[in-house]
Symmetry: C2
Subunit: 330 residues, 2 copies
């Protein structure tokens, strides 16, 4: 008799358990579904796989940028440029990547000529590597990085405008120097500038890369760069070149969009000829451009795809410097 009575509740409890669970599951799926449908489109800081926001997310970390400038054998140019760049609006800090291995940083001189508008940090490197500048420096607090070659001067106007443009395209490289690749019929790629044939998409020309030696990009891409296969880092070390081509590959792969947005500079200057060091920069090496074509093909091989996309968007500042630069004769 005890048996009989106890079995019934058991079975009943079993059925009730099943029904209760089903109801719970159904309700939770409804809630999950509703949440997914109502989820707002938060695209502003949505950078999956990129570095998490720094803890001290002050307003300045969002409204300002960090200048990262790598330097080798052109300290005279560096110091000229630092005087210019330290005064750029919205600059948070300068990180100088000191590739002069074994040479003392000019910190004493720098401090003796203070005060300075922003902190400047000299990061001493143990090896003279091109990709040193793509490290994740702890001093980097802003979302935006402005990367500059140590022989390039761009006006404050151009930089202020390009920074405002980057804020509208934060997942792309917004910069001043466009380049492109072209493909032969046998899918061998070549690297070049506008003197190369156009890629053949309609009228005009196209670019597929924006060089990082004069550009803004999201600091999260540094983290993404560090995570790339060893073969990629080895390629950059082997050529002492192509770090910017790699960055363009990364961004294109990550976004599915053209990697860069080209902002036409009003005042950009190459100070190479003004150095007393006699050193004139890597791009003067005879093999420089051939190396870059070589890098394109190696990277396509490593990634098993060509992610670079073409763009023909050229951005200028409305009404500047000529207040009627948008006027058209109707």
């Amino acid at each position: 008799i005890g048996h009989h009575i106890c079995k019934l509740p058991g079975r009943v409890m079993g059925i009730r358990l099943l029904r209760f669970s089903s109801v719970v599951i159904f309700l939770l799926l409804l809630v999950a579904g509703a949440l997914m449908a109502l989820l707002p489109n938060t695209k502003d800081d949505k950078m999956p796989n990129l570095r998490r926001e720094p803890k001290s997310q002050s307003q300045s970390a969002l409204d300002s940028f960090t200048l990262v400038m790598q330097t080798y054998n052109r300290t005279d140019l560096l110091l000229k440029l630092l005087n210019h760049y330290q005064a750029i609006p919205h600059l948070h800090k300068v990180v100088v990547v000191w590739n002069n291995v074994g040479e003392k940083i000019p910190e004493e001189m720098w401090n003796s000529l203070g005060p300075h508008p922003v902190p400047v940090v000299f990061k001493v490197q143990t090896m003279n590597r091109m990709r040193n500048r793509l490290q994740i420096f702890p001093e980097l607090e802003t979302q935006a990085v402005l990367m500059m070659d140590d022989d390039t001067l761009i006006s404050a106007y151009d930089l202020a405008f390009a920074f405002s443009v980057w804020k509208q395209f934060p997942d792309q490289i917004v910069g001043f120097v466009p380049r492109k690749h072209v493909s032969s019929s046998s899918s061998i790629y070549s690297y070049g500038s506008f003197e190369l044939q156009t890629p053949g998409f309609g009228n005009g020309d196209q670019y597929s890369m924006v060089l990082i030696g004069a550009a803004f990009f999201h600091s999260g891409y540094l983290e993404l760069f560090q995570k790339q296969p060893d073969a990629v880092h080895a390629l950059i070390d082997e050529t002492q070149n192509c770090d910017d081509i790699v960055m363009n590959f990364l961004v294109a792969k990550h976004t599915g969009k053209p990697s860069g947005v080209f902002v036409k500079p009003v005042d950009i200057r190459n100070l190479e000829k003004e150095t007393n060091s006699g050193y004139s920069g890597m791009w003067h090496r005879a093999e420089h451009l051939l190396q870059r074509s070589y890098c394109l093909n190696k990277l396509v091989n490593i990634y098993n795809s060509m992610p670079l996309k073409y763009s023909n968007i050229m951005i200028s500042q409305f009404g500047f410097p000529n207040y009627a630069n948008h006027k058209n004769k109707m």
Copy 2:
């Protein structure tokens, strides 16, 4: 004894039920959380409140645009322009909004001069209203609308490029004629072009509107326009003006972004002087500009806000028409 044995299982079942349910709930919350985190950023066709995709969503409906051209008292210009526009690449169809009330459409003549590259539909209007062109025409099958004044000629190159730009900014008005508003200290607004003071945001000038008489925009905004308060439609009818200012208000409110993206035209022509009709267009009326300032203030009153936002982005085509138009002297 039966009592004793049965109670125990009941309590045990109760506890098991609780534990089981808790585990289920926990697992489902995990799943929901994971789903929310992994949700991809689908921003491409995300146009809430805009018209649902037409049922026959052929490739052409996505890759092409519909020209909507309203015409009044300048049939000679219209016919000149139709010969030009009918041949523009990616054009799907032309809708001519026939504001010549009581006058026969030139359909016979049009047909006798066929065949034509695309269909041209003449929509006969019962009243000569400026906002007639903002109706939801059933013939409109494409996502993109190209709206043109009946005295404006823009080259095929410009249009092909601007259409490609619109596809990158589908929720904004992408066009060739920028305008701006300025605000007095008493929040009275004035309308004008670049000869007005700059709004004072940094260097250069800013625009806050792109006129729809030479622009691409999403057809969904026509639906949004129709849903506006009667006072808005009445304002347009009262002034026979300002429909474009209203559209810019709509887009700015809807997107929270600047309403327009300005593409600098290479070849834009005003054919007003070439008409035999003696009719020279609404903007020659003495009160035209004052009306537009009036409209700004009325609309701010109706909407209880000023949604227009400034932009200084000017877009040109890379390497066209001058293949080295992006070259900078370094």
